[in-house]
Symmetry: C2
Subunit: 355 residues, 2 copies
């Protein structure tokens, strides 16, 4: 694919994302090579000391009592991974779930759960430095928390995400992820579910399976592929070097994956995070697990109902935060991405990985 | 309305925005008063000198040739407002508009227009410092550019917006706005159009007229009201101190307003911008004009068609940029707003305005 016009001028184009249902303007900056996109974060996030970090094994009483502790197989620390309720939750488990209206408006009480997954007992080890086996344990904890929170019939979505670095919104340098269980589905999730359902209803094929098939045919946007997973820079990426990790085997729920597949996923994550780190110099990033929402009866919420096992396909989205968004993006919901996904994929593929 | 629970604890709630079709979590931070929300921007944006600013009247050749110049009534400067093509446009006027597909995907060539409206000949005067008569001239230029670009049948939306301050994405300190004409409708606009159409189809009433009616009944979210306009902190505001300026008289297009109404709008803008500046200490902000898109024949684009004159109601959205968005917001499309709109409105109303 020749993205270059005459005289090295790269014409911009608008691309439609069939998943998120958005147009994105791919506007490569003239003469700017993918390698020149490095982290915005001039002042690197500094590591905290274990004495200062409320998440460290030295400060057990700085967090609320643990929901879950994974023991350290080497016995070096009192635990290896710890899950605690967020001290400043945006939603709370206590109270009745009330749905009410006010004139035109709708309101639901702020019932939910907000947990923090502390990924390592010391503040000195970052997510991208975890060994494959350690990463795999974190992925298993994600699974366990989703499965547990799905038991609560008040929740309509369980979001697992990770902010790394200040530019990605992390307020704590000690490596951690978050889980939020909420009583309504967020727009971004509902939009993807709608896209998947519509695609399936018309074609009796999974939208994501179709994307995997097409991307494997084309090749130009694939960053990584193995027996179980494909990683691509999506066709209409809203952000430079955005990555989508998709399991090849159709499956609607992350939390239904077995240990073997999560180990395989840990290897994929280790590979692509290393590539991103080398290509963009340890960028801030957000990672989000897009899994199917808990099933709701068709009678309760016809708007939420779909044959989700057939039409949805879980995936992980990683967004390096290396560009600022401005009024255009906020006002229009239309993003301008200065790096063509084909260029981003080629650059990431070219990174040498050695251990 | 009592937002406080026992012991001053403010419970969070989720609110549905009937316009943008999103849930927002309103999660007031315990003990944090609206007056404590001041700009994030510790290092204030510094003014440029007129010698350095490519937009200043001293550097006529630093910009492409002007599309439009409004003369200075006082004759002090060679012009008062100047419109130029963006030197680094995200979309370009030249070339054929091509719509093509690639497998599952859709692509449109990057045809459009990208203009810069320089609001004052010197870099020393910011938007919020313009006199009412000067602001009114800027508003008239917005109108003129929209009307002109609407003549081009390739364009499906014309977005007028303003980024003020680095945190709002402004890369140039010299006060300016931007106009982007594009060959597809952005998601945020299309979502609002869909909401308005659905509301009208079911009720034969304008969604925005209903909101104005309800807000005037309730009173608690109104920041400003006069003969022609109502300014509210929207019920499900995604950002603290977000403002919506709506004309009381139903009208679908900003560009159809007469001089008298634009003068009245300039007075409103002057008032609310002064309130924001005093309440939040000169915050960075984004301002977007939400006007109806150019009409497209029902035969050409049935998906774009609606009785837009009846169901859409133009408005202006102002978003101060005083909080960071993190992975939660990006992953879910669900925003967490730490200031209840009622508190924000009360605070802004309490600001003393004197000239």
């Amino acid at each position: 694919m020749n993205l270059n016009g005459a005289n090295g001028f790269i014409p911009s184009e608008m691309r439609w994302d069939p998943v998120g249902r958005t147009w994105t303007i791919i506007a490569p900056e003239r003469g700017r090579r993918p390698g020149s996109f490095i982290s915005l974060d001039e002042k690197r996030d500094e590591l905290m000391s274990d004495e200062d970090s409320p998440f460290s094994y030295l400060n057990e009483n700085a967090t609320p009592p643990a929901i879950l502790k994974i023991p350290d197989p080497e016995g070096k620390y009192p635990w290896k991974i710890k899950v605690v309720p967020n001290k400043y939750p945006v939603l709370r488990v206590e109270g009745n779930l009330e749905r009410s209206g006010e004139g035109l408006y709708d309101r639901v009480s702020g019932i939910g759960a907000h947990e923090v997954i502390i990924e390592h007992p010391t503040a000195q080890v970052q997510f991208t430095e975890l060994k494959v086996s350690e990463l795999c344990e974190v992925l298993k904890v994600y699974r366990q928390r989703i499965l547990d929170l799905k038991q609560d019939s008040r929740f309509r979505y369980i979001l697992v995400f990770k902010n790394h670095g200040r530019l990605a919104g992390a307020t704590m340098a000690h490596s951690h992820s978050q889980v939020v269980a909420m009583p309504e589905r967020p727009l971004a999730i509902q939009t993807i579910l709608n896209s998947a359902r519509e695609h399936f209803n018309r074609k009796e094929r999974c939208l994501f399976c179709d994307i995997i098939h097409h991307e494997r045919d084309m090749g130009v946007r694939i960053v990584y592929e193995d027996e179980n997973f494909v990683v691509i820079c999506p066709y209409a990426s809203q952000h430079p070097f955005e990555l989508l990790i998709m399991p090849k085997q159709h499956s609607f729920a992350y939390e239904n994956q077995d240990d073997r597949l999560l180990y395989s996923l840990a290897m994929v994550l280790r590979d692509v995070m290393t590539r991103l780190n080398r290509a963009l110099r340890q960028p801030a990033f957000n990672l989000v697990i897009m899994t199917a929402p808990p099933l709701v009866s068709k009678l309760t919420r016809p708007d939420y109902w779909s044959s989700i096992e057939q039409d949805f396909h879980w995936h992980i989205k990683i967004t390096p935060r290396i560009t600022y968004q401005a009024g255009f993006e906020w006002g229009s919901g239309m993003f301008i991405n200065p790096v063509a996904p084909e260029e981003a994929a080629a650059h990431l593929k070219s990174i040498t990985i050695y251990e």
